[in-house]
């Protein structure tokens, strides 16, 4: 009997020595490399935006901030960017679909690190931060304004500030009160009757509004989280202390995220996004208009007069390579949406481009099952995760929040 136990002890000892020899941390070198590549300290400093010469001008950012929070920047004075992009809520609104002047078809996107995106919106139908800002201003469901009215408003409310940054305002005395190539039929008719030079003047002021708002948005950056502290400790070989230490469940979730569950193929880099478009089989929402994602955005960004190749860009055309080399067709862009950053995602349900999933559990269950896409082909394949594995993935995602 005692002999048996001593043998068992010896075997256990041998096993321990063996395990110990493989090193106490639970990660392989390849895993460590991947984990390090996700940490916030690998985020490069923000590149200049040569298409917006005011991008890093403090006065422009200050004016942009004013405009971002100003409900006067809407048809009826009730909606600003911050109605949906709430400063104390990661610049989003917690709703499945945003509500402005009307009910929109898409989920409000958070803005941390937004200036690093090559494409804007879920479908990437704009190619710069400043061109993006001009879209909700005239969208009838969002701020529902028109560019002629915005030009008059800027002159009246912020004329002096505007001129200190952008130079003299054009003569707006003969510009109609309401006109836009994208507005109501009446506004379109008025716009079309305006001389080209006057349209140009208004467009120039309008583009500058976008450039000021973009300058402000460049300051919105992601914050360090528990995951980042854990990753830095792992990289430096320090033992994670306090809340930087991960529970066994969080470690399992992290391993799944970068391993078997393949999340890191799309959610990669320090922002947990590859900035690309994928069909992941997220189902459409009943009652909303058809939404085909990227495939319909291509023509829109090409037609946008404020895109990189248009005449309102500053700097030279070499900044326009994303637009120039974008994928324009093919089955892969059908119902493809931009990979969102997962930083702080746990604190901002619901999820996906139209708020399809109410919780992270639902998100992970979706990836585990990987249903086929209603249109186009989903790139994700069933993972058949156990309950324990699904819970671990959710536990890991939460470490990107606190």
């Amino acid at each position: 009997m005692s002999r048996l136990t001593s043998v068992a002890c010896l075997l256990a000892l041998a096993a321990l020595v063996l395990l110990g020899g493989c090193g106490e941390p639970q990660f392989s070198d390849a895993e460590k490399k991947t984990i390090a590549s996700l940490a916030l300290n690998t985020l490069p400093s923000l590149k200049p935006d040569t298409t917006n010469q005011y991008a890093d001008v403090p006065a422009a950012a200050a004016l942009g901030s004013t405009l971002f929070f100003d409900a006067g920047m809407s048809r009826d004075g009730t909606v600003s960017c911050s109605t949906c992009h709430k400063i104390d809520r990661q610049f989003q609104d917690d709703l499945p679909q945003a509500v402005g002047i009307g009910h929109t078809n898409r989920r409000t996107m958070p803005l941390a690190g937004v200036a690093r995106n090559p494409w804007f919106f879920w479908d990437g139908r704009r190619d710069s931060l400043w061109a993006q800002a001009l879209t909700p201003l005239e969208n009838p469901l969002e701020q529902a304004g028109n560019r002629a009215a915005f030009a008059h408003y800027i002159k009246k409310r912020f004329g002096e500030r505007y001129e200190r940054i952008f130079g003299r305002l054009p003569d707006l005395s003969t510009v109609p009160a309401n006109a836009s190539p994208l507005g109501s039929d009446a506004e379109k008719a008025v716009w079309n009757a305006m001389p080209a030079s006057q349209q140009d003047d208004v467009n120039r002021v309008y583009a500058n509004i976008g450039k000021a708002i973009a300058a402000f948005e460049r300051s919105i950056e992601p914050e360090q989280t528990r995951f980042d502290r854990f990753a830095i400790d792992l990289a430096t070989g320090a033992r994670p202390e306090g809340n930087a230490a991960f529970s066994p469940e969080e470690i399992l979730g992290l391993k799944l995220f970068i391993g078997k569950a393949n999340c890191v193929t799309c959610h990669n880099g320090p922002r947990f996004t590859d900035n690309a478009f994928h069909n992941t089989g997220v189902p459409p929402v009943d009652g909303l208009p058809p939404d085909r994602g990227r495939v319909d955005a291509v023509a829109q960004v090409e037609a946008d007069p404020f895109n990189c190749l248009g005449k309102f860009r500053d700097g030279d055309e070499s900044a326009c390579r994303e637009l120039r080399f974008m994928v324009k067709d093919g089955p892969q862009i059908m119902r493809a949406y931009k990979t969102p950053s997962l930083r702080a995602a746990a604190d901002r349900a619901p999820y996906m481009h139209a708020g399809q999933f109410a919780t992270l559990d639902e998100v992970v269950a979706h990836y585990s099952k990987a249903p086929p896409s209603v249109e186009g082909v989903s790139e994700v394949h069933p993972l058949d995760l156990s309950d324990r594995e699904r819970a671990a993935l959710v536990a890991f995602l939460k470490t990107l929040s606190d």
Binding site: V7, L10, L11, V17, L18, N268, D274, V327
Partner: protein
């Protein structure tokens, strides 16, 4: 009582076996990771040209739009001028195409063509297919890039 030593020996033997298995696994791992042919210079499919493909700045950076150089020589070593080049590709294991559509944008002389707009958004095995038409005829070549 000698039998306890037999057990110890057996235990040690078992441990040695385990070490051996671990060693074998370690030794074979790099082989399975080496995967597809990664050469940067090769004959085209029908042997019309010799093609080489290199990042213009020497390094591959994941997630960045980069330009590469495709250099074309005839089998005899003469530079291929005036070639029409088409580019496609994707990730064979993920069943998806390229995230951008790279194009041959400039001819730099001596058979060198700039392929701009190349972006690898994830780590793994990528393939780039080139269709090449020149005076000598049409041919194609595939390069594997593993990140």
């Amino acid at each position: 009582m000698a039998s306890i030593w037999r057990y110890i020996l057996a235990g040690l033997g078992l441990a040695a076996l385990l070490v051996g298995i671990v060693a074998v696994v370690y030794l074979t791992l790099p082989h399975s990771a080496s995967g597809p042919d990664r050469s940067r210079s090769k004959k085209t499919a029908n042997g019309l040209f010799v093609a080489s493909f290199e990042p213009e700045r020497g390094v591959i950076r994941q997630g960045e739009l980069q330009s590469w150089l495709l250099t074309l020589k005839t089998a005899a070593g003469a530079p291929v001028e005036g070639a029409a080049i088409t580019v496609s590709g994707g990730m064979p294991q993920h069943n998806h195409g390229l995230p951008t559509s790279p194009q041959a944008t400039d001819y730099l002389g001596e058979g060198r063509y700039r392929i701009d707009g190349v972006k690898f958004t994830m780590s793994g095995w990528w393939q780039l297919h080139f269709g090449i038409s020149a005076a000598a005829g049409s041919d194609s070549v595939v390069f594997n890039v593993v990140l």
